[in-house]
């Protein structure tokens, strides 16, 4: 574990530089332990794949004490070797058609049929490694390498909310209309983010997700 200073208002805590469920689990647990301490000056704690960011107000924070607290909390989670069992969130997807304009391109990339792409995408249970890009956008992995098509070289200016995409080994759902470069294979009517809900984001780091093929309406 290494703590790096990002300017004077953020610490970056690095675990191992790898995309791995156990390392990600440690980052998520460490983030929640640091958050629970509610140390003076700490404004936000956000985990990444294998890192976490601790954002603080430099005028209100005892930096040495904060770094010490991070080290103490890390020692409590560093030996964790398993991931917490969680319920699987099912997301129904209408594959192909207007909502999945890249389904054919992904099939061509994989050298298989569109139905094979759907079967492979729905066969796996994905882990939410982190959220970012826009509110509620979950980076999930790992996609079956056979269908892991790279993102578009030139992103689309507008991707519709609910679009389900692939970018290499990652898959995700666009929560709002936004620009985006992922290969779009389908669309869901599931609302990924709603600021008025008690828990605005459908998904949180560490959650498990399965996509289910829904008949096209």
């Amino acid at each position: 574990m290494k703590i790096r200073h990002c300017g004077d208002s953020m610490l970056l805590v690095e675990l191992e530089a790898t995309i791995d469920p156990v390392v990600n689990e440690r980052a998520i647990l460490l983030a929640s332990r640091i958050r629970a301490r509610a140390a003076r000056g700490v404004r936000d704690v956000a985990p990444g794949y294998c890192t976490l960011g601790v954002h603080f107000d430099p005028t209100q924070t005892d930096l040495a004490a904060l770094e010490h607290a991070i080290e103490v909390e890390f020692s409590a989670i560093e030996a964790i070797e398993t991931v917490t069992e969680r319920a699987v969130v099912e997301i129904p997807v209408e594959y192909g058609g207007d909502g999945g304009p890249d389904l054919k391109a992904v099939a061509d990339h994989a050298g298989c049929s569109e139905q094979d792409v759907i079967d492979r995408h729905t066969a796996r249970t994905y882990r939410v490694y982190m959220l970012g890009f826009v509110p509620g956008f979950a980076y999930m992995g790992r996609v079956d390498p056979a269908i892991a098509a790279p993102r578009h070289r030139v992103p689309r200016e507008r991707v519709r909310a609910g679009s389900v995409g692939i970018a290499g080994g990652q898959t995700g759902v666009y929560p709002v209309d936004s620009p985006g470069g992922w290969q779009l294979i389908g669309r869901t009517s599931t609302v990924m983010f709603d600021a008025d809900r008690a828990t605005p984001s459908l998904l949180a780091p560490g959650d498990l997700v399965r996509f289910v093929a829904a008949p096209r309406s």
């Binding site: 990002c6 300017g7 970056l12 890192t51």
Partner: protein
């Protein structure tokens, strides 16, 4: 207290509601947003007797024309605009009384890029996840998550009027569109050649037209790396100077995403971010490396500037 409104006659180029930002939800990918120049935002609030987190209007390059539908006290800080209230000139950096029905018009801009209009009691658009800050890309906060358009009514408080005639020393604005910003190296300065930091601190970067509240794209020499590729996406903070493979840096500002995969050669210190917020496309940035001690000292000096003002207020 009851509510009245600013009626937007002309919206200006990019006018949005901002408070100090939406903290606490970055784990869900929710960006912080908030003012590009947080110092001037806070100063405007102080001038009208508000908490520092009260919502103001951030006004960019071309200002709006507003009808104020209540007796109140207002203050404008930050960029130096010509402003009139019912055709009478209004001074920047001082509170002034406004009568119901008054027309507040922003004219030419002389210096800086963003002004902050505070009104006693604060702008009263609904809070979203605890904040009124507008995040344009995710269309969250402020007025329907967007910048103002003609015909909008921005709710404000009436009956919270404070005594006018408070003055304060504002931010020292960039001169001739140039700013010197102090930088702390890291967290990925080791991704770059030893020359890269020296190069970054020996030239002027021009702010590209493809810049916005999320970040400034900087035109200048590419900063050479010793490592190709990208990082595994990680959390990022305001003021980060990230460098994509092509080598042109991007300075992350108020509407930045919560995470990213480009290596960061350094961060602009908190004390200098307000100055960065007063720059516009076509302006120039020079960077200089400083020590963590200097960064803290500069921030304390900046905070004292606000406290000095508070002392004056208490004595009045």
């Amino acid at each position: 207290m009851s509510t009245a409104a600013f009626l937007v006659v002309k919206p200006g180029l990019l006018t949005s509601v901002q408070d100090l930002g939406r903290f606490g939800h970055q784990a869900a990918g929710v960006p912080v947003a908030g003012p590009m120049d947080s110092f001037s935002h806070r100063l405007a609030n102080q001038l009208v007797g508000n908490d520092p987190d009260a919502a103001t209007l951030e006004i960019t390059l071309i200002g709006p024309e507003l009808i104020v539908e209540a007796d109140t006290v207002a203050a404008i800080t930050g960029a130096h605009f010509e402003v009139t209230c019912d055709d009478r000139s209004v001074a920047m950096g001082a509170s002034f009384g406004v009568r119901a029905g008054a027309r507040l018009k922003f004219g030419r801009i002389h210096q800086g890029a963003r002004a902050y209009l505070a009104v006693a009691g604060g702008v009263q658009t609904p809070r979203v996840l605890g904040s009124r800050a507008t995040h344009l890309v995710s269309r969250m906060g402020g007025l329907s998550g967007r910048s103002l358009v003609a015909g909008d009514r921005i709710p404000i408080v009436t009956g919270a009027a404070q005594r006018p005639h408070r003055k304060a020393v504002g931010l020292t604005l960039p001169t001739n569109g140039r700013a010197l910003l102090r930088v702390l190296p890291g967290p990925q300065d080791y991704w770059f050649t030893p020359d890269a930091l020296r190069m970054m601190t020996s030239v002027s970067f021009r702010i590209s037209p493809r810049s916005n509240r999320m970040g400034y794209r900087l035109e200048g020499p590419p900063l050479p790396r010793v490592k190709d590729g990208e990082l595994i996406s990680e959390p990022v903070g305001i003021g980060a100077i990230q460098v994509p493979a092509a080598g042109e840096p991007i300075l992350l500002m108020a509407d930045r995403q919560t995470a990213g995969g480009y290596p960061k050669i350094g961060h602009v210190i908190s004390a200098d971010l307000p100055l960065a917020g007063q720059l516009a496309p076509g302006d120039f940035i020079e960077f200089v490396v400083c020590s963590p001690q200097e960064a803290v000292a500069a921030l304390i000096a900046r905070e004292r500037q606000l406290l000095r003002f508070a002392d004056l207020k208490d004595a009045s």
